[in-house]
């Protein structure tokens, strides 16, 4: 009996050892921070070695009276509302077109995907110069084709966020295109053949075969782009630093500023909780809707 139990214990040893490094890393650097952050959001922790005070839900109350935070939330929502559909439409168009093209396929796929693998910082610097209202080529071209007063892009509080969205769409549509392309190529050929037998033209095939079969993939891309849109930071940091004024300040950028520039860690932790909840809600919606919305 004891020897049997011992053998039973022993059989768990290799597996436990194999998982141990990942488990320790997960516990220390992800799980503990997750819990700690929640606790921290109820304190006035300011970093360094100052003892934090427990202040209840003050941080959360202040958060929703804080103009700066609300502006960053609003900007982020504008970013999401524009970034998500633009990226999806472009990605879907590129994926469908690529699927119907026989020539230059490899080149086109690489060209569209290429921006995704380059660093945000590099391309943000380059786009910053391209958008320069005085010396950049974009406004030079716009003036050349007859637009007398082109926008001042990153220097204008009306256009800066829009310029950042354009760059973000340009940077990432290729990635989602590859996901959609894989989805399109996974649609069984016999569905198209059946549709053709029924006399469906290309457009009807798209409407009644491609789109429904692709809906799980489209739905996933939708969720991925939404979640992605709440993580935007690099472009804002390099191109505008949140400005002009507060016009391009977004959620993660605001968290970064409060935590690592103003050292209001407790307050930033409360903002992080809001970010966490937003993402969780989106994930839950995904969970619930996946079965209803998606037609296989």
């Amino acid at each position: 009996m004891t020897s049997k139990r011992l053998a039973n214990y022993k059989s768990y040893i290799p597996g436990t050892l194999f998982i141990l490094p990942a488990f320790v890393l997960f516990a220390v650097f992800i799980f503990v921070p997750l819990i700690y952050g929640f606790v921290m959001s109820f304190t006035d922790y300011g970093g360094f070695n100052v003892t934090p005070n427990f202040i209840g839900i003050d941080n959360y109350v202040n958060l929703f009276q804080d103009d700066y935070f609300l502006v960053s939330l609003k900007n982020n929502l504008i970013y999401t509302v524009l970034f998500v559909p633009l990226t999806m439409i472009l990605a879907l168009f590129a994926a469908l077109a690529l699927n119907n093209v026989l020539h230059l396929r490899k080149y086109l796929r690489m060209a569209f995907y290429f921006p995704y693998i380059t660093s945000m910082v590099s391309i943000a610097i380059a786009w910053g110069l391209l958008f320069n209202p005085v010396s950049g080529p974009i406004n030079y071209i716009l003036k050349a084709i007859g637009i007398a007063n082109p926008p001042e892009w990153l220097m204008s509080s009306h256009w800066a966020l829009f310029a950042i969205i354009l760059v973000a769409v340009w940077k990432s549509f290729g990635y989602y295109m590859i996901i959609l392309l894989a989805g399109i190529q996974g649609i069984p050929e016999h569905l198209y053949e059946a549709a053709k037998l029924d006399g469906a033209n290309k457009f009807k095939q798209f409407l009644y075969v491609t789109l429904p079969s692709l809906s799980p993939t489209l739905f996933m891309v939708l969720i991925l782009t939404i979640i992605n849109s709440f993580q935007v930071f690099d472009l804002v940091s390099v191109m505008t630093d949140g400005g002009p004024g507060r016009s391009t300040n977004v959620l993660v950028f605001r968290i970064y500023q409060e935590a690592f520039i103003n050292y209001r860690m407790g307050y930033a932790a409360a903002m992080s909780t809001v970010l966490f909840l937003i993402i969780m809600v989106i994930s839950l919606i995904q969970f619930r809707l996946e079965k209803k919305w998606v037609t296989y």
Binding site: Y12, F23, V28, L34, L98, I178, P216, F233, L275
Partner: protein, 281 residues
Amino acid sequence: MQDAIAKPKSSKLLYWLLLVVLVIFSLATLFPFLWMISASLRTDVDLFKNPMNWIPQTLYLNNYKEVWTAIPFAQYFLNTVKLSVIITVLQVVICSMSAYAFAKLKVPFKNTIFILFMTNLMMPWHSIMVPQFSVVSSLGLYNSHTGYILIQLFSGFGIFLMRQFFMSLPNELNEAARVDGYNEWKIFWKIMMPLSAASLSTLTIFTFTFMWNDYLAPLIYLNDDVLKTLQLGLKGFQTEHTMDYGLLMAGTVIATIPMVVVFLIGERFFMQSVATTGMKN
């Protein structure tokens, strides 16, 4: 697809029209990179005088020389190579080890731990970066490469990807090896890892690219100039030399070249890693 050839004239015309649109679209996509290269090879005077002459009359290579002395570019470059390589190797090994355990070995509370690990896929790092910073600081690892490396070693995606592959291998393989007197450690290194070369390459390329381009985590964790990475260096350079277009662009071109090389070598694996994301559900 094949019937594009045997189609009536109007749809053939449509096909070529689509191709032309796609080519124009692809050139527009690549335009910023072409402009980057062009600007890096010209003097700023030339650039401002003739903004539309994208093909330089004479190649001006001075920017590529100057960038190495204008900032500690070599130091940044070496730091980035060091961190990307160390993190990639360790992350791939650690993730593969736990993935192997999830796929083939007995682990207490296996499902609970696996679900816990997979929450990492849904939860963005940004939402824990503030408390994580406090934890790392309290361990005395702020402003050190060690601290930055440690926070990057766990990857839910990596574990998921490798577990999928290991599960596709037959259990008889392990049993036969055990009969031959192999222990699990030996099975893992001598049999499992060599078999999973394709998945390993996918994960390696994915992680390396991510680490090479990482910006926010180094921004938070690395403060001393000697510790900084290329992305931080470029950002600092941009703040100081806002109007030195040529120099700035030479810096970004050099920082991008390693990624281009990795991309061209591992294009197949890139596409695979993305397609895997698509199969996640």
